[in-house]
Symmetry: C2
Amino acid sequence: MPRLPRRFISVLLFTLPVILVAWAAPATAQSLNSDVLTAEESDPNRLGWMQGFPPASERVIGQPDANYFSFPKMRWTVCHFRELLPTKQVSRGLAAPVPLTYALDDAINDVMFTPLGGNEPMSWQASLNENYIDGLLILHQGQVVYEYYAGCLDEAGKHGAMSVTKSMTGLLGEILVAEGALDEEALVGDILPELADSAFGNATVQQLLEMTTGLAYSEDYSDPNAEIWAYNAAANPLPKPESYSGPRTYYEYLATVQPEGEHGQVFGYKTINTDALGWVIARTSGESVTSLLSSRIWQRIGAEQDGYFTVDSIGTPFAGGGLSAGLRDMARVGQLVLNEGVINGERLFPAAAVERIRQGGDRQAFAAAGYRYLPGGSYRGMWWSLHNEHGAFAARGVHGQTIYIDPTAEMVIVRFASHPVASNAANDPSSLPAYQAVAEYLLEKAP
Amino acid sequence: MPRLPRRFISVLLFTLPVILVAWAAPATAQSLNSDVLTAEESDPNRLGWMQGFPPASERVIGQPDANYFSFPKMRWTVCHFRELLPTKQVSRGLAAPVPLTYALDDAINDVMFTPLGGNEPMSWQASLNENYIDGLLILHQGQVVYEYYAGCLDEAGKHGAMSVTKSMTGLLGEILVAEGALDEEALVGDILPELADSAFGNATVQQLLEMTTGLAYSEDYSDPNAEIWAYNAAANPLPKPESYSGPRTYYEYLATVQPEGEHGQVFGYKTINTDALGWVIARTSGESVTSLLSSRIWQRIGAEQDGYFTVDSIGTPFAGGGLSAGLRDMARVGQLVLNEGVINGERLFPAAAVERIRQGGDRQAFAAAGYRYLPGGSYRGMWWSLHNEHGAFAARGVHGQTIYIDPTAEMVIVRFASHPVASNAANDPSSLPAYQAVAEYLLEKAP
């Protein structure tokens, strides 16, 4: 984590998890210092966070030292956001869950690949600790072939999805577009008059969905004037200092965003696009993102657990990064998307919603953003398209979260992680080729 | 609500729902002013709290005006604590819920009774709005004969159980006693050395379970020096002001409690007894109250929904009042208790745990406390025994929450409510005789 000016530390203490969600950033490769704890060394159970009644003071993650998203504390926190912040439920409803079917294959552990930019081959199994994995599940042809838990997570736990949340919000947006309820050519300012005078006003819904808006918004934490600080302060659900006079909610913050550059030219990965999309969805559907995600997805996929979102001071769900959920339920969503809207024999939304995501966005606009490990990729509906030979596309969250869908291999990989580096550039080299290697293994094995 | 000195208002804003949970108090009858909104007039859907994106500013329940437990806002808040405060899950596990069986009987609406201290007969149906009921379910011989939702609640929602939480904590305590894991003659200070020098130190576990401890602890909100203020400040999970130097957790607060009078003499309904019991349970079992309630009860009754507890700044669940849960799941717990530990054909704990609760506590100590509407009653295991002809006993929460168990009529009534008056003395007169009348109706009808 970059060193911060002292005056911002206290802000930081109370504004996570808003921070760190946004970085799936176009960084160069980052490798860990040798003095950073390994996955085993930083295991939250081993370190004893929050164990005992009360926990030893140096093992408390809470107030007054609320710096709960620093590594290695963060490896506990990713499973416990609701214990630190107000949250809103994504209800699974009351019906019985639909169990996943299993065809486990331990041989996947031995699948070998070569990390990007490296020479030494690595096994799938070795890649788990390399990437600080807390949970990983692979579906092949709809069956669970691999399931793994570590760190703070188990099958009955929930984990922060970080920016994978964006892909849930984006999917809802694409569903509304495919159903004709939302016009992707419409201007955001026409749907949300409150944003008419902001940079969003003359952007289209499609530009939100592809994040090609031109916004003056920096997430450079080393810059005390970066817009991220005002955003974090606005998003913080805790009481504001009396002297505070800035925006107090996601919505109020969005209305202050100023333009920078032209819309539609360059891909710019900025979380506030998703928050604006969440607002568009709520205004259009009459339901909050939490409520719509429940009624359209969570209640209909046979989910085992409720999910939840963190919220701002007036209960607005954090559409850009606030979701926590169970690993198996994320796998159910992945399978639903792989199947283009069908799960357990039922169609939940038009196939067109996923077709648009798979098609991808403007590749030229994406190339301009310089993602070293996603050459030739694009972004659409808040999903990342790799445009590789398998047509793979993915939801991606900072610290290593993913839903990786390979239509050719009929494979879904869902992953929760708590990598110490807040950029996927740190885990992509030993993740993306590993996914591809497993896909090839499964393709070879497939009937 | 009593008028508070101005300087305490801001404390109040951030310390609910800790406040108001404690009052199942020995008050005299309180009737509503005619200018208090009726149940229909104060319906949270009708008033439009938190509707819209964003809600109109005067319809927001959140920061900066966090006075969310004032009537009529409170009628929304009772279903939404998690959206305002950090919380900890009581997991139902991942298995399929066990559906309740139904034998609905609409004629219950026409059962008549005469309110205590009144002359005019009232129908069961009329008693619902009279008492600002949000949810009510009656089980007879294990089947649902009546189910009703209003206000903020529906079958898939959760509602604050308020002091009914105490009976869940008490049940866990009695289970540990019945199983021999916890000695009720043991001194609290021997189990929790941290409390040795407090008033709890030389109290027995049994005195906690019966609330006959002698504690200097006032919940008189009109007294700025009442201990409740320090308790609330300690329990508050939000960041403390920099100038704050008091206790920062439930545990730290409990260690400061001073003695007043003798233990074992008089029943004194003080929430901190339950918080101390929660700590005893955690130290004894190695599990928090949330975790133990999940593993011993919620995961084994076929629950439909997870429950949750509000927590303090280090994640300690509020054992004295923090539970929110679904109405049907509370009914499952009631049936489990009626059956003395058996549900869905499985025994979950020794019958002795419930036998002790039904036996009741020291009636003389209880009489000294002067509960007008519970003459001849007693308190044991954090449940209230009416010692009436039917042997009824109950969990009771402020604003009208209950699990009322009538073993003679094989009847369980569970009720969530948001009565404007924070004392059961306001709703008992049109509740207790109504329960008895329905019990007699069901007895007559029973095969």
